[in-house]
C-alpha cells in the first residue's frame, strides 16, 4: 500500500506533491483518498445542491417557461432580469420593504441577543454570586421549552400591551436566547483566564471596564457564533411574524413570500406569479448563504466549544 502512494507522489508535479504531502499528515500511513467514498459523498452532496440548482434555473424562466421546459435545465429564453424587475415592482415594490424589514429584525435581534448572552454568560462563568446555581438551572431548563408553544400566550400579552403590529413584537421575543447564554458561559470559562481578570483588578480596573475592554474582545469568536445563529433564527422565523403582524409593510421575507405563494396558488392559471415567488425565494436566501460562507471560520470554532462540553 505504502508503495503505491509513494509512487503516486513521485509522479505528481512538484507543487502538487507538496500539497499532497501536507494534507497527508492527517492520513494514516499507507492510506490515501478513497475514490468510492469520494463518489458516494459527492452524490449525496448533489442531493443537497440540486433543489438550489433548480431554484437558480427556474428563476430564469417566465411562468409559461416553468411549465413547458424541463425543470433542471434552462429554457430557450432568459427571463431572470424581467423576473427581478417584476419582483421588485409588484405591489409598489413591497419586496424591497420586506428585505429591509428582515435585515432590521435580524441585525437588531442578533446583536442584542449576542450582547445580552455574552454579558450573562460572562457573569455566570466568572463570578460567584448568591442564587447563581438556581438562576443558571432555570435558564438551562428553558432551553427545553418549546418556544413555538409559547407563541400564542406571547401574542395575547403583546396584544394586551398594544404591541402587535409593531417591530417590537418581532424583536423583543427574539432577543432571548438561553442556549446563547449557555454557549457564552462555556466559552468564557474556557477562553478567559482568571489570572487576567485578577491582574486587571490589581491595576485598578473596574468590573465593567474589565468586561467591556478585555473579556468581550477575547469572547469575539463565541459572540460571532451566537450572533450568527440569532440572525439565522430571526431571518428564518415564520411563526412569530405570522401571528404578530397583519400589516404587509412590516412583513419579513418569510411571511411575504408565503403570502405571495398563497396568492398565486389561489389565483390559479390566470394571475399565477410562480416565477415571482421563485425569484423572490432565490433572492431571500442569498444573503445568509454569503454570510455563512464568509464567516465559516467563526461558527465552526464556536460550535466546537458548545458541543464538546457536556
Amino acid at each position: 500500500m505504502s508503495a503505491t502512494s509513494s509512487t503516486r507522489l513521485a509522479v505528481l508535479p512538484p507543487d502538487q506533491r507538496r500539497r499532497t504531502k501536507k494534507r497527508g499528515r492527517d492520513l494514516p500511513p499507507g492510506e490515501g483518498r478513497s475514490p468510492i467514498l469520494t463518489i458516494v459523498i459527492w452524490v449525496c452532496a448533489a442531493y443537497f445542491l440540486l433543489p438550489l440548482f433548480w431554484l437558480l434555473i427556474s428563476s430564469t424562466k417566465d411562468n409559461s417557461g416553468l411549465f413547458s421546459s424541463f425543470g433542471l435545465w434552462f429554457d430557450d429564453e432568459f427571463h431572470l432580469w424581467a423576473n427581478l424587475v417584476d419582483l421588485f415592482t409588484t405591489r409598489d415594490g413591497v419586496f424591497l420593504r420586506w428585505i429591509s424589514n428582515t435585515a432590521l429584525y435580524a441585525i437588531v435581534a442578533g446583536l442584542g441577543s449576542a450582547l445580552l448572552s455574552a454579558a450573562a454568560g460572562y457573569a455566570f462563568a466568572k463570578y460567584d454570586f448568591p442564587a447563581k446555581k438556581f438562576l443558571f438551572a432555570v435558564v438551562l431548563g428553558a432551553i427545553m421549552i418549546p418556544t413555538t408553544a409559547l407563541a400564542i400566550p406571547t401574542y395575547l400579552l403583546f396584544a394586551g400591551a398594544g404591541l402587535t403590529n409593531t417591530v417590537w413584537a418581532i424583536i423583543l421575543p427574539s432577543l432571548v436566547s438561553p442556549f446563547g447564554v449557555y454557549l457564552m458561559r462555556v466559552y468564557a470559562e474556557e477562553s478567559i483566564p482568571d489570572t487576567l481578570i485578577e491582574a486587571a483588578r490589581l491595576d485598578g480596573a473596574g468590573e465593567f471596564r474589565i468586561f467591556w475592554q478585555i473579556a468581550l474582545k477575547i469572547m469575539v469568536p463565541g459572540i460571532v457564533t451566537v450572533l450568527l445563529f440569532a440572525v439565522v433564527h430571526t431571518w428564518n422565523n415564520y411563526f412569530l411574524p405570522l401571528i404578530m403582524l397583519t400589516d404587509p409593510n412590516l412583513f419579513p421575507l418569510t411571511l411575504g413570500l408565503a403570502q405571495l405563494q398563497a396568492a398565486s396558488e389561489a389565483g390559479g392559471g390566470a394571475s399565477a406569479q410562480f416565477s415571482t415567488v421563485i425569484t423572490g425565494s432565490l433572492v431571500s436566501i442569498l444573503p445568509l448563504v454569503v454570510i455563512f460562507l464568509y464567516l465559516q471560520k467563526y461558527w465552526t470554532s464556536g460550535l466546537t466549544t458548545g458541543s464538546v462540553k457536556e
Binding site: 492520513l27 494514516p28 483518498r33 478513497s34 467514498l37 469520494t38 459523498i41 449525496c44 452532496a45 442531493y47 443537497f48 438550489l52 433548480w54 425543470g71 433542471l72 445580552l116 454579558a119 450573562a120 457573569a123 455566570f124 463570578y127 454570586f129 438562576l135 427545553m144 418549546p146 418556544t147 413555538t148 408553544a149 409559547l150 400564542i152 400566550p153 395575547l156 400579552l157 423583543l172 421575543p173 432577543l175 432571548v176 468590573e207 428564518n236 415564520y238 401571528i243 418569510t254 411571511l255 413570500l257 408565503a258 405563494q261 396558488e265 410562480f274 421563485i278 425565494s281 431571500s284 436566501i285 448563504v289 454570510i291 455563512f292 465552526t300 460550535l303 466546537t304 458541543s307 464538546v308
Partner: protein, 306 residues
C-alpha cells in the same frame, strides 16, 4: 465583630463584585422573565379557564386538559409527530454522522466543498425550503413528475395523503443534516491525535477507529443533536402550514399539534383551549427529552461499569 481592615475590604470587594454580576445578568434575566417565563405562566393560567357564550371565561380546573386528552385531533397530531420523529430523527442523525465520519477520515477528495454543499440548506429559511420542495414535488412543473412522465411512469402523488409525511421528512432532513453534521464534525476534529496513534499501533483500521474512538468521543454532541432534533420535530409548524396551500386535503387543520393550536387560537377563537393544547405539547416535549437524557445517562453509567 472583630474584622480586620483587610477582611472588611475583601467583603466590600465581594459585595461590589456581586453587584456587578447581577448587573451583567440583569438585562438578559429581565427579558427572559418577560418573554419566556411570563408567557409560560400566562399559558398555564389561561388553560384553566373555559369560554362560555354568556358571562365570558370561567374557572374550570383541568377541563381543557381532560378535553385535549380525549381530543382525537390533538392525540392524532401527537401520534403523527411521534411517527415523524421515529422516522426522521434517526435518518437525519445517521446521515449526519456518516458524512462527518467520511469527511473526518480525510479520504474524500474535495471534502471541504462537500461539507459546505451539505451545510448550505441550513441557511435556507424553512419557508423557502418548503415552497421550493412544494414546487419540486408538484404535478405542474416539478422535475420529479416531469422525469417520471418522461420515462413512462405516471407522476407520483408526493403531496397526497399517504405520502405527505414522507415528503415532509425529506424537507426537514434536507434542511438539517448539514447542521448536525457540522456539530459532529467539529467535535471529531477536537479529538486529540495521540488517541489515533495508539489505535494505529494496535493495527486498528478506519472502521474500527470510527466505532471505538470517534463515536464514543463525540457522544455528548450526538446526545445534544438528538435532543434538539426531538424538540424541533415536535414543534413542526411551517412545513405543514405552507404545504396546506398546495395540499389542503392531505394536511388538514390538525396535522401537527402546533398547527392545531394555531388554528384553534386564530381560526376558532378558542384561546383557552389552544393554551391548554400548547401547554400539553410543551409537557410532552419536556417529558420525552428528559426520559431520553435519563436513559442515555444510565447507559453511560452501565458502560462505565462494564
Amino acid at each position: 465583630m472583630s474584622t480586620t481592615a483587610l477582611g472588611r475590604r475583601t467583603r466590600r470587594d465581594k459585595r461590589r463584585r456581586n453587584a456587578a454580576a447581577y448587573l451583567f445578568i440583569a438585562p438578559f434575566m429581565l427579558l427572559f422573565a418577560t418573554m419566556l417565563l411570563l408567557p409560560l405562566f400566562y399559558a398555564g393560567y389561561l388553560s384553566l379557564f373555559t369560554e362560555q357564550l354568556i358571562g365570558g371565561a370561567s374557572f374550570a380546573w383541568f377541563d381543557n386538559y381532560a378535553r385535549a386528552l380525549t381530543d382525537e385531533r390533538f392525540i392524532g397530531g401527537v401520534v403523527r409527530m411521534c411517527l415523524f420523529l421515529v422516522i426522521q430523527v434517526p435518518i437525519m442523525l445517521l446521515l449526519a454522522l456518516l458524512f462527518a465520519l467520511a469527511l473526518d477520515s480525510m479520504r474524500v477528495r474535495g471534502g471541504k466543498f462537500a461539507r459546505l454543499a451539505i451545510f448550505v440548506p441550513y441557511a435556507v429559511p424553512g419557508v423557502v425550503a418548503t415552497l421550493m420542495w412544494g414546487y419540486l414535488y408538484g404535478d405542474n412543473f416539478g422535475p420529479i413528475a416531469q422525469f417520471m412522465r418522461a420515462i413512462g411512469f405516471g407522476s407520483p402523488d408526493l403531496l397526497g395523503a399517504e405520502n405527505i409525511l414522507g415528503s415532509i421528512v425529506n424537507i426537514v432532513t434536507w434542511q438539517f443534516v448539514g447542521y448536525n453534521m457540522v456539530i459532529m464534525y467539529s467535535a471529531m476534529r477536537s479529538i486529540p491525535g495521540d488517541q489515533y496513534e495508539a489505535a494505529r499501533i494496535d493495527g486498528a483500521g478506519q472502521f474500527r477507529i470510527a466505532w471505538s474512538i470517534k463515536i464514543p468521543a463525540i457522544r455528548s454532541s450526538i446526545v445534544l443533536c438528538t435532543i434538539f432534533s426531538v424538540i424541533g420535530a415536535f414543534q413542526l409548524f411551517s412545513e405543514p402550514k405552507l404545504l396546506y396551500e398546495v395540499a389542503p386535503n392531505a394536511i388538514g387543520s390538525s396535522f401537527s399539534p402546533n398547527l392545531y393550536a394555531y388554528n384553534l387560537a386564530f381560526t376558532n377563537q378558542e384561546v383557552n383551549y389552544s393554551a391548554a393544547v400548547a401547554f400539553l405539547l410543551g409537557i410532552v416535549i419536556m417529558v420525552v427529552s428528559y426520559v431520553f437524557q435519563l436513559s442515555t445517562a444510565r447507559r453511560e453509567k452501565k458502560g462505565a461499569r462494564a
